[in-house]
């Protein structure tokens, strides 16, 4: 299973969501992407975007200045 990283640091929401959206559309179902953000709003927005669009949040980590959200790409329709 491929594991990708996405640097969304120093971007304000919704830019981390847009970058995540762009990255996920290029990946196959089951692939995993780890998104690193500095806007803590991403802790709400990226999981919300995943719920709406059928992707799975595997893990969220708040590391103080940075937050890391790990997503498994869902089936496309």
């Amino acid at each position: 299973m491929s594991h990708h990283q996405l640097d969304a640091r120093n971007l304000l929401c919704p830019m981390p969501v847009i970058r995540t959206q762009d990255a996920v559309t290029k990946l196959a179902p089951g692939e995993v992407v780890e998104v690193v953000c500095t806007d803590h709003g991403a802790l709400n927005d990226i999981p919300a975007w995943c719920r709406i669009n059928g992707h799975k949040v595997i893990d969220t980590r708040d590391q103080g200045r940075e937050v890391i959200i790990t997503i498994e790409v869902g089936q496309s329709d």
Binding site: R9, N10, L12, C13, P14, M15, V17, I18, Q21, T38, D39, H40, G41, L43, N44, D45, A48, W49, R51, I52, N53, R65
Partner: protein, 347 residues
């Protein structure tokens, strides 16, 4: 079984677009949301950079609307093409630097491209006749439909019965009788409808969803254009206008002064692009210097930086100056007295 007709709804995150999309879902239409990010969108997160706002709920209202309705949302980055709308609006600006009529036409035009690329049938917006002074008037709403190219593929469910029939109504995809006839600035019908649907906790931004309608923000943008000598911007420029106290002591340099730890953290992400200053002898803010500064300018900037820190009453404050070429130095200066800072320096 026939496939349901498909509509793309422009979702701002406010109540009107929520209700417009809901009315379509009620008629069995397959709805997906589109949210255009221009860079000027008012987001709770931008305010949440400030420490005092840390306890406010952080959410993207467009995502919240989509989740509430159970529809997909496509957030589209239009920062680059939107510049033409802001820089050269054919219908001019509103009370501030808000090009509302051009903006709506641009967004509907982009939505038209999107439905053509994605096999959707029509476009839905939450517009209401008479709700906004520039873009939502009886005489300007047809301009949006015409100039965007959407024509009768643009349906405004909240006021459709007051407007000419559109293709989705004519073709029987939607029942015109089940659309609404709202007009004016009164929000009570929308609030009542939201209650009827059980929608709570929806966003009601006082100044709309765009920073360009904000007088203070527009003043900062106009200052940026005037002092750079050209009407241009990039995303960092317009983000930084949302953050900090902006002080311009000379045309060639502006200081962006963090107001709390949250803004300190945010501005620290720009230390490689801008010259940055902070006090090393006393607690104080991180300050970015936007522009070109010679040694005399840096001393002036350092004195101002000291003024905004806890060393403001000290005889001498040690300021660290970190140039954007990677070099750094320290300067011991006396803080600028408050009565020497003209009010007009504050942008």
């Amino acid at each position: 079984m026939t496939q349901p007709r498909k509509a793309a709804a422009l979702i701002s995150g406010g109540l009107d677009s929520l209700l417009a999309a809901k009315l379509m879902l009620d008629q069995g239409i397959h709805v997906e949301g589109i949210n255009f990010f221009t860079g000027f969108c008012v987001e709770g997160h931008t305010h949440a950079i400030r420490s005092k706002d840390k306890n406010k709920p952080k959410r993207n209202n467009a995502l919240w609307v989509a989740e509430t309705l159970g529809i997909k949302l496509h957030i589209v980055d239009v920062i680059e093409p939107y510049k033409e709308v802001v820089l050269n609006p054919s219908h001019g600006y509103g009370a501030n630097l808000n090009p509302c009529l051009d903006c709506k036409g641009f967004m509907v035009g982009k939505a038209l491209e999107w439905i053509q690329e994605n096999g959707f049938d029509f476009i839905v917006t939450g517009e209401v006749i008479g709700q906004r002074p520039m873009s939502q008037r009886r005489d300007t709403m047809p301009v949006i439909a015409r100039e965007s190219g959407a024509g009768d593929l643009l349906l405004r469910p909240l006021c459709a019965r007051l407007l000419p029939e559109t293709k989705p109504e004519r073709e029987g995809w939607v029942d015109r009788e089940r659309l609404l006839n709202l007009s004016g600035r009164n929000r009570k019908p929308q609030i009542a409808l939201a209650k009827q649907y059980g929608f709570e906790d929806y966003a009601q931004p006082a100044g709309g969803c765009c920073f360009l309608t904000d007088a203070a923000y527009s003043k900062k943008l106009a200052d940026l254009w005037e002092n750079r000598g050209e009407k241009q911007y990039d995303l960092d420029d317009i983000m930084l206008l949302k953050v900090g106290r902006h002080v311009r002591p000379k045309p060639n340099m502006k200081l962006i002064v963090a107001r709390d730890d949250g803004e300190n953290n945010f501005l620290s992400g720009y230390k490689k692009r801008f010259t940055s200053l902070y006090s090393v002898s006393h607690k104080g803010p991180l300050v970015l210097l936007d522009g070109e500064a010679d040694d005399a300018d840096l001393e002036l900037a350092a004195r101002l930086v000291a003024r905004f820190g806890q060393g403001r009453d000290a005889d001498a404050v040690n300021i660290s100056i970190n140039l954007n070429d990677g070099s750094s130095r320290e300067m011991v200066i006396s803080p600028m007295p408050v009565n020497e800072i003209p009010q007009e320096w504050y942008v």
